[in-house]
C-alpha cells in the first residue's frame, strides 16, 4: 500500500508555487504572490492604480495570482459572477479570478495567453464597479440564519 501522502494529486492546483512576492504600500496595502515575474513587475509598476481602486474596501489585501499553463484560453469575453461577498471574473473557461471583499483577497488563475496588462485592467475594473461597504457585508449573510419559505 502506498503511504506517500504527497502522491495525492493536486487536481485544483491549490499548491501551485507562487514564488515571486511583493508588497505595495499604496492606499490599499497589497501583498502580491505570483509565479510570473513579468506579472509582478507589471503590477508593481501600476501599484498606485491598485491602491486607488481598492482603498474603498480597506487595507491589507492579499493577492495570489497563478499563471496556469494548463488553463484553456477559449474566449476573450469576460463574464462576472457577483455572489455577495465574492466577485468572480471568468475569461473563457480557464481564467478565473475571485475577489473576496470581506477577507480582502484576490485569488486566481490566468491562462498564459492572457497578458498581465489585460488581467490588471480586468481586476481593477471589478473594484471600480463594485459597491463599497456596508452592502457587501449584507450580501454575505448566510441563508442558514434565515427562515425557509
Amino acid at each position: 500500500m502506498n503511504t506517500m501522502a504527497a502522491m495525492v494529486p493536486d487536481l485544483l492546483r491549490r499548491f501551485a508555487s507562487t514564488q515571486y512576492h511583493s508588497r505595495f504600500s499604496n492606499d490599499a496595502v497589497v501583498t502580491l504572490a505570483t509565479n510570473n515575474k513579468h506579472l509582478l513587475a507589471e503590477f508593481e509598476a501600476r501599484s498606485e492604480q491598485i491602491g486607488e481602486a481598492f482603498r474603498t474596501f480597506g487595507a491589507g489585501w492579499v493577492w495570489r495570482l497563478v499563471q496556469d499553463e494548463d488553463a484553456p484560453y477559449d474566449s476573450d469575453e469576460p463574464t462576472i459572477l457577483d455572489a455577495g461577498s465574492i466577485t468572480m471574473l471568468f475569461l473563457g473557461t480557464g481564467t478565473m479570478v475571485a475577489v473576496d471583499w470581506i477577507r480582502r483577497e484576490v485569488l486566481g488563475f490566468a491562462a498564459t495567453d492572457v497578458s498581465s496588462g489585460r488581467l490588471f485592467q480586468l481586476i481593477i475594473g471589478i473594484a471600480k464597479e463594485h459597491e463599497p461597504f456596508p452592502s457587501i457585508q449584507a450580501a454575505g449573510q448566510s441563508l442558514l440564519k434565515r427562515s425557509i419559505v
Binding site: M1, N2, T3, M4, A5, M7, V8, D10, L11, L12, R13, R14, F15, A16, R64, V66, D68, A71, P72, D74, S75, E77, P78, T79, I80, L81, D82, A83, G84, S85, I86, M88, F90, G92, T93, G94, M96, A98, D100, R103, E105, L107, G108, F109, A139, G140, S142, L143, L144, I148, V149
Partner: protein, 325 residues
C-alpha cells in the same frame, strides 16, 4: 461583458436537502431545479454539518460541449462548465453560489451524477464529511467499505455482492461523517460506473451503451435499482474496511491489517488541504482515525467477481456469527 448577480431576493424557490448526512439549504429562481433535487429533500433536520447553495438561473444559452474546469486557492474553489455556467465554492462560509443556464439547470443527469457529488466532495471537509474513495455495501445496517485503486474492480464486486443480498450504498466514493461516537457512511444515489469488460459478468448491460464518464474513462453507467434490481441503502454504519487486491494469487485470502497501516492508506488517498482550511483538516483527522479502527482486512482474490463476492459474503457472515457467539 456579461454580469450575473446571485441576488437572494430573486431566489424565492427554497428547500432543505439532506446530502451525505448534511443539511443543505438551497435557494434558486428555478422551481424545476428543485424538482430534480427532490430525492434529496430532507424529512427532518439532522444534527450535522450545514451548507448552502444559491443557484441563479439566467437566460443566456448554455454550451453543451465545454469541458468542466476546476481550480482552487485558499478557501475558494471555482468551476466553469461553459462560459455562462459558473460556480464558486466558499469553504469558509460553507456556501456554493452559481449562475447557470437553463440548459444546465434542467439537466437531471448533471445534478445527480456530477454536481451533487462535486459539491459534497469540495465542501465536505468543512461540514464534517470525508469523501473516501471506496465502495460501500450494507447488510442489516452494518457497512462494508471496499477500498482499492481505480480499475481494481470495486464497482463490479459491489454489484456482485448486492446480488447476493447486500444493500448497495456506493460503488466509487463514499461520504463518511461522525454521528455521536460512531461513523456513518453515505451514498449519493449516483449510478454505478462499470468498465466495459463488466458486460462479461452482467447480462443486464446488454444493449446498453458505454459512455465517457467525467474522469474521461469509457464506462457503463447504470442504475442499481432499475438495471440490476438490487436494493439500495442511503446510509449505514461501517464495520469493516476491506482493501481489495486483485493482483494477488489464485486463492482468496484475508489478511488482517493494523490501524496504522490502514491510516497510512487513508492518508495517501485523501485530498490535501491548504493552511487556510487547517481547522477542517484537523476535524477530518477524527473521521480518518475512526475509519482506521474498523476491522480492516486485505482481501486478495484474482478470480471472477462472482467468486470474489461469494468469498467476501462468507467472510462477513463468519464475522457476524463470531461477533454474536
Amino acid at each position: 461583458m456579461k454580469r450575473f448577480t446571485v441576488d437572494d431576493t430573486q431566489l424565492t424557490c427554497r428547500a432543505v436537502l439532506e446530502v451525505a448526512g448534511c443539511t443543505c439549504t438551497v435557494a434558486t429562481n428555478d422551481s424545476g431545479l428543485l424538482g430534480f433535487l427532490e430525492p434529496f429533500r430532507s424529512g427532518s433536520p439532522r444534527d450535522c454539518g450545514e451548507f448552502e447553495m444559491r443557484v441563479m438561473v439566467h437566460d443566456e444559452p448554455g454550451e453543451p460541449h465545454w469541458l468542466p474546469h476546476f481550480r482552487g486557492l485558499h478557501h475558494l474553489v471555482f468551476a466553469s462548465f461553459g462560459q455562462f455556467d459558473l460556480f464558486v465554492f466558499d469553504l469558509e462560509q460553507r456556501r456554493v453560489s452559481a449562475a447557470i443556464s437553463k440548459r444546465l439547470a434542467r439537466d437531471h443527469t448533471f445534478w445527480h451524477e456530477r454536481m451533487v457529488p462535486i459539491i459534497i466532495g469540495v465542501l465536505g471537509c468543512t461540514v464534517g464529511v470525508l469523501p473516501f474513495h471506496s465502495a460501500c455495501l450494507s447488510i442489516n445496517g452494518d457497512g462494508l467499505l471496499i477500498a482499492g485503486p481505480s480499475g481494481a474492480g470495486k464497482s463490479t464486486l459491489s454489484v456482485a455482492l448486492a446480488k447476493l443480498g447486500f444493500d448497495f450504498v456506493s460503488d466509487d466514493w463514499t461520504y463518511i461523517n461522525c454521528v455521536s461516537r460512531f461513523i456513518e457512511a453515505h451514498g449519493l444515489l449516483a449510478p454505478i460506473k462499470l468498465l466495459p469488460d463488466a458486460i462479461k459478468h452482467f447480462p443486464e448491460l446488454t444493449n446498453r451503451q458505454v459512455c465517457v464518464a467525467m474522469n474521461g474513462e469509457l464506462a457503463y453507467e447504470a442504475s442499481p435499482e432499475s438495471t440490476f434490481s438490487i436494493s439500495v441503502a442511503r446510509r449505514c454504519r461501517p464495520r469493516w474496511l476491506v482493501f481489495f487486491d486483485r493482483t494477488a494469487g489464485d486463492n482468496a485470502e484475508f489478511v488482517e491489517i493494523s490501524p496504522d497501516t490502514a491510516l497510512a492508506y487513508i492518508d495517501s488517498n485523501v485530498e490535501r488541504l491548504p493552511v487556510q482550511l487547517a481547522t477542517a483538516a484537523e476535524n477530518r483527522e477524527t473521521i480518518k482515525e475512526k475509519i482506521a479502527t474498523l476491522s480492516c482486512w486485505r482481501f486478495q482474490h484474482d478470480g471472477p467477481p462472482e467468486d470474489a463476492a461469494r468469498e467476501l459474503y462468507a467472510f462477513v457472515s463468519r464475522q457476524l456469527v463470531g461477533a454474536s457467539a
